[in-house]
Amino acid sequence: MTRRILISMAACAATLVAQADKKAAAPAAAGADNSFFLRNVTVHPVTGPEIAGGAVLVKDGKIAEVGAKLVAPKGVKVVEGKGLHVWPGMINSATQLGLQEISSIRETVDTGEIGTFNPQLRPLIAVNPESEHLPVTRANGITSAMTMPASGGGGGSRSAGTSPLIPGHVSLMHLDGWTWEEMEIKRNAALMIQFPTIETRTFNFMEFTAGRTAFTEAKRFYDRRVKELNDYFDQARNYQKAKAVARPDFRIDLAFEAMLPVLDGKLPVIIPAPDERTIKGAIEFIEKQKLKGILANIGRAGTTLELIKAKNIPVIIGESTDLPEQEDDAYDKNYARAADLHKAGIKFAFGTFDTQFARNLPFQAGIAAGYGLPPAEAVKAVTINAAEIWGIAGEYGSIEKGKWADLILTDGDLLEHKTSVKQMWIKGRAVSLENKHTKMYEKYLARP
């Protein structure tokens, strides 16, 4: 007991020190100054042609004017952008930021809850605003991110429990704020469904051994899981009906409550679908339940691209830099994945589907551009496309009058590995690009 108190006292002291440091270091959400005039800069609005020698006027956090021939209004702070480029802040459409600090240490991982159906869970409220990953990710020009739960139970360790069918919602957040409330863009951005897959190859992480299941057996298990999922949606609809004619003693069920916007088609479901069968199954499910759908991580999509296009379902790509799944796949199959989707006319955005590599979002898009995706489309897939898929394009995702000023200033091409981000604004406020890594760099570079 004494020990625990001591530890928590030490932790408090550490927090106080950290905050004292931060006051000096990070203007973050503290400053009220959210108006400025950025000039002599190459503007990349993303939704329109680039403007050389352009300017952006930001007033009260929003973009007030964009153009080539703007004059700074009196009294507004001027930011010089000579030789630099301004872009919309990037949106990473799949991460576990804020929910996971050190992936191998269970106590620092809050991604995987116990149970099959958890639609009531919202990642945002478990986001640690002091996570080292947030400023590290920000430093590469990413202003906001989707953060999501995972399968597994046991907090998220890969060895525990069976996979859930509904692990929870995904949240959309800014990567800066004193609290998660200040970070919030959309607490419930979509409901995540872990659609069943037919797995004939199994892997036991406890014993580190591979195994095989007969196809018929795997298919039977799959059918049972799909039925379970459909049954749950039917129950939620029954709940909806019962609630409509509710008596005073009607008991509110938080899980079914969370299902209501989904049943009404107001909130999309996001379904990772790694292969052809799962994609077909997921689309059939989306249609049957009359849902708004987003697919994710469609690694072995095979011949289903036309189907996805026909149903007008957007996709979050996370596999661009993954190894091809099969030995006899083309060596560049996943590098070229985004180009394939573009050719098929499917709307897509990039996500990194992890925490430690969340900062590499622009590189993923850049490499996809090397393998056939037009560079302008690659930029859209980390900005405006993401905003459209998440339903926030009215406020974010491009440099247009009336939108929030989530902006980044770079010394070069957005998607080049060599490019540095010089400045960042979230809702018009300058945000620090300093982080654990830059601090350690400065400290040890100066070691005598």
Binding site: I102, S103, I105, P324, A369, H417, Y441
Partner: protein, 462 residues
């Protein structure tokens, strides 16, 4: 029957060998109008002449020998083949996890030349790869440096003449078997393995070298006696200690997996005490904290570009590591440790321009001449220079660009990867694959006809 089919195999491989000899032998290749990045010298626009697998001539203008095959580069970028200083591809086994000192095992015994990762690495510009054991043991096994000669046998892939080396490992991985846990490679309560701490890791290494010194002395005594013509009984050969004696006698390099500054310093001091050098610290995530000590010892550093936070010992890893180490005088390379990342080490190196401001040439050196020096093969590979092996990559854009795609890759002057050819052959390969599947289905059908229908719920053939 068996005899006949063996004969056929022999003549088939004989034909293959002939074909290979033909491509390697007399052929002269000229790559012209390329933006050449020699790495050890300033870049220029010009040509390279390849003869007998070596770079014969290079310059803004070269004499094209009669009968040479000319490759028009059209301003594309030619750089030395990438050298991955830390990889686990092309090996059928990685960890001999039963004992803490497993110096008796070696990768060369388990090389798998048919691993598709070799081709995928080639397609990412890699021409040499250092294949290491895993990090389960304080003293692992013997490493093998390979050239990515896709299609050749295991023994033909070995980088001939490269100095032998051995893998060591510090920190969380070698101590994992010392504590019970549910994760892979962890011990169970009844079968814990020493060491369980970083203190124990040091002890294991020191103890092993104490044993090696005694073993070395026995052989020295024996050799001295026989040299004088005396009759002596040779010591019993110890395959575990032999490689460690080679380390003591500077005949074998040590590549040491390491993360934290404390364990890095520990190993440098152990090596100092026993009078040997650590050739490279691998991963060396906190190397930036002890760069001065690493430089003073003379060890090289081979690190990741930006991996971090996947375990506690990786929480202080920073992407500026390669830049700090370089600036503080440590010979540094960037490696992949992954069949995935090895396919784009060019852009991994580009991150060192972003994080820490290395020059483009310094960044390219991290994946070419620097790992070549660390592996002591810089007389053969790692830069574009007359007399060196023609291990080259032609990129469509500057190799440090996100948009760069390797087009042609040469090892010993032979083209082992050609993007155009790969794309062209895809249709043909799909057709062959389909034919094989159809044939297998047909055989299955005939089999079933003979055996009768399978019982309900029977397993489908895997």
């Amino acid at each position: 029957m068996r005899f006949v089919s063996n004969l056929r195999n022999v003549s088939y491989s004989f034909a293959l060998a002939l074909a290979a000899a033909a491509t390697l032998g007399a052929q002269v290749i000229v790559i012209q109008n390329a933006n050449i990045l020699p790495v050890t010298k300033p870049g220029f626009k010009g040509s390279v002449v390849i003869e007998n697998g070596k770079i014969k001539e290079m310059g803004e203008k070269v004499v094209v020998p009669a009968g040479a095959q000319v490759i028009e580069a059209n301003g594309q970028y030619l750089m030395p083949g990438i050298i991955d200083c830390h990889s686990h591809i092309a090996a059928d086994a990685i960890n001999e996890g039963s004992v803490s000192v497993s110096s008796m095992v070696g990768i060369e015994d388990v090389l798998n030349p048919t691993d598709i990762s070799i081709y995928r690495g080639l397609a990412g510009g890699v021409t040499s790869s250092n294949i290491l054991h895993g990090s389960a043991n304080a003293i692992g096994g013997k490493c093998t440096l390979i050239k990515m000669r896709w299609g050749k046998s295991a023994s033909e892939m070995v980088f001939e003449g490269a100095k032998p080396s051995i893998k060591f490992a510090l920190g969380e991985n070698p101590k994992r078997r010392g504590s019970a846990g549910s994760g892979p490679l962890q011990g169970s309560p009844g079968s814990l393995r020493y060491p369980a701490t970083r203190m124990g890791v040091e002890d294991v290494i020191r103890q092993a070298f104490n044993d090696a010194k005694i073993y070395q002395a026995k052989w020295q005594e024996y050799n001295a006696k026989t040299a004088k013509g005396e009759v002596a009984i040779p010591p019993r050969r110890d395959l575990k200690l032999e490689p460690l004696v080679e380390v003591l006698e500077s005949k074998r390099f040590v590549h040491a997996h390491s993360y934290r500054a404390d364990e890095i310093l520990m190993l440098l001091r152990v090596a100092d005490d026993y009078g040997f050098k650590i050739r490279t610290l691998q991963h060396v995530l906190e190397g930036y904290k002890v760069a001065k000590e690493i430089a003073a010892h003379g060890a090289g550093a081979s690190t990741f570009s930006d991996w971090w936070a996947y375990k506690v010992e990786a929480f202080d890893a920073i992407p500026y590591n390669a830049a700090i180490l370089t600036k503080k005088g440590v010979l540094t390379s960037i490696n992949s440790d992954s069949a995935d990342v090895t396919r784009r080490l060019n852009t991994e190196a580009a991150k060192a321009v972003k994080y820490g401001g290395l020059t483009e040439t310094e960044a390219l050196a991290l994946i070419t001449i620097n790992p070549a020096k660390q592996l002591a093969v810089d007389n053969r590979v790692g830069s574009i220079e007359v007399g060196k092996d023609a291990d080259l990559v032609l990129y469509d854009k500057h190799p440090l660009s996100s948009y760069a795609v390797a087009q042609k890759v040469f090892v010993d002057g032979s083209m082992y990867f050609d993007r155009m050819k790969d794309i062209e052959e895809r249709g043909k390969k799909e057709l062959v694959k389909k034919q094989m599947i159809d044939r297998s289905k047909e055989q299955e059908r005939l089999q079933q006809k003979k055996m009768g229908p399978p019982p309900a719920g029977a397993r489908r053939p895997a």
